[in-house]
Subunit: 429 residues, 2 copies
Amino acid sequence: MNNSFILRGGIAFSNGKNNIITYSKGYVVCVDGVCKGAFADLPDMYKGLRVYDYGNNLIIPGMSDLHVHAPQYTFRGIGMDEELLEWLSRYTFPEEAKYANLDYAIKAYTYFTEDLRRCFTTRAVVFATLHNEATIELMNQLEKTGVITYVGKVNMDRNGGENLQEASAEQSLKDTVAWLDAIAGKYKNTMPILTPRFIPSCSDELMRGIGKLSKERGIPIQSHLSENKSEIAWVQELVPESTCYANAYEMFDTMGSKELPTIMAHCVYSDRLEMQILKKHGAYIAHCADSNMNLTSGIAPIKKFLDAGVNIGLGTDVAAGSSMNMLKTMLISLQASKMYYRLVDTSVKPLTFEEMFYLATEGGGSYFGKVGTFKDGYDFDAVVIDDSKMFSMRDMSVRERIERMCYNDADVSIRDKFVKGKKIFSAII
Amino acid sequence: MNNSFILRGGIAFSNGKNNIITYSKGYVVCVDGVCKGAFADLPDMYKGLRVYDYGNNLIIPGMSDLHVHAPQYTFRGIGMDEELLEWLSRYTFPEEAKYANLDYAIKAYTYFTEDLRRCFTTRAVVFATLHNEATIELMNQLEKTGVITYVGKVNMDRNGGENLQEASAEQSLKDTVAWLDAIAGKYKNTMPILTPRFIPSCSDELMRGIGKLSKERGIPIQSHLSENKSEIAWVQELVPESTCYANAYEMFDTMGSKELPTIMAHCVYSDRLEMQILKKHGAYIAHCADSNMNLTSGIAPIKKFLDAGVNIGLGTDVAAGSSMNMLKTMLISLQASKMYYRLVDTSVKPLTFEEMFYLATEGGGSYFGKVGTFKDGYDFDAVVIDDSKMFSMRDMSVRERIERMCYNDADVSIRDKFVKGKKIFSAII
């Protein structure tokens, strides 16, 4: 299969956040890794290209996971009766400390990268640990998967305990530069992202240094924002001069810009002021509903943020989220949105399925450029899905089938997965 | 395999609602279909029995699904942007009307019963439709699965539209008696349960007739209670003399008794008064969190009911719930409970994993008698689970593994399933 071809099947993709275009037997065209559009009838100009007919399979854009912790993958699904700060100190920090051992990292990251290769995700933004060697190992492994990722060596110079804390802000910044230098020019699919864990883990000096480094090198930033009430109160103590948590990031020049947007995971408790800060900087919210429910954090009012024009994608947030399956993340995000409406504020309508499909595909995909839909000029990221095990007594429409697979992912499987026109996973091989 | 044997593996079972007993390499003993207990070391008296060694697999009690609609199985996962009453009229009632056609029912029910045979459920309480022939067909199919079930021909003599409504209360009751007579003595595993759909579907006369029939024949009742605010308001209009929805059922003598408990699905909005009515009658709540989130109904305060001593089990409520997988139901029920605590009432603590495991096994199982745990004298219902695909960097305890499989069910599979000591499903055959 070269990099120009046509896929045929049941096609669905977002056309704006409120509309899903579907073709029951349609064509989606890839030329040199770029999508040339999807069509009910194949335009004459593409009739020379080879057509791969997937019959009744579904073909959708690849999904973007804007927030996932690679080192936490191996303990996902345990300790889930805890809340954030207790869970971090009891489970997460002791596990991440083990990545000081490169042999441990080599083995553990194999599981993570293989799952990422096989899931609905074609783009991901990943936290590693604070360890340079292990982070480079993770990037080496990810590069081979063909999934396009941003990966961050984590910065943390306080409150990590003796086993998961850098010696000083200076040392943390020095290690960060060494990491960036070591990987410069090394990868095609794998990019660095600066990753101050969150303000409780990073001194003011470290935060300022990261803000400066981001500007100097043109490297974006990811972090966590307003996930849990105890965390927010702690940030207010640590940075008393800030007007809110987002403002603390802003003070340190780490909130990014429209050209180099920062990704902030969670924003469960972000109010109008924080929303304005996020919007002003062009920042992305990584909405992690599974994680936010599991750790009893709360529910982010995503519909409100979306209507206000804030950039938003979905994050699985493994291991506080228990799975990298974006369909499950969509389901739980829909349920979260319905409960926010029902239990918190009936003026904030639930997200529609159309909006959720958009968030999982183009919403998060836009962080990577023209990614996440089948319109002309977008990168050709696609997932071919076999849902034939989902018995039905009648022919379901493509729109019904993509909703059904999201509410019930157990009976669907991925047949092929493409990134920029390259097949990076096939169930058959 | 005869009906007396021993299973060896990683064993977990509830000992009361707050405690899970585990053995990493334990034994659970079955004699004549009855559990004789689980042990770390095999007692001498059982050393003559054959041991089936499942190695590192998990062995847990079978689960009970207290609320599932068989005819809705084939359209699960669509129309999920709707709320209850709109969803019923747009999707559910038109689909259920099709079961007037026996050929349709024969085919559609095949999918439902095969899934039920293969899932974690060993006991289920099932809604059919109002059609006698189709209901008997469903019962015939269920009997063959070996899963022990209660099945209800639905009663509805009003508000079903022209295609899903019985001619009169008298006709509905006459058909119900004809159905009971037709199946009397026919099955070993499949029992009838009287099933007035809910008060909006049943006239006062019909409700009273069902209450009378229940007492005369000693057949229990299942229905729906306080699921959705519009539904509750409607019931208040329809039965203006009732003090609450539960009281309306009580007035018609359909709330059952400790000897013959009624199952009420949902109870999302049941207050202290309704809780007292449920408890007084020994009624069971079928908690259907997946359904309650999907239809934007709300979250039932299950922890409060549990602490008050009300009988509770879990229900998948397909098709408002999208799957018969009880692990997924457990996950979503845990998330729902955490969000009730966080968003509605911090005096109602989240359900612990121990409590959720209890609800899925013995909580619902107790409706069927001594069912749902591995203590001496309980029916031997067991599920053997292979979780070897869940990679980990260390040996997880059995307690960790059962939590992990509930938060992330995608990587576990059922190896064997037993009901009353009979193997009714095996992945190998």
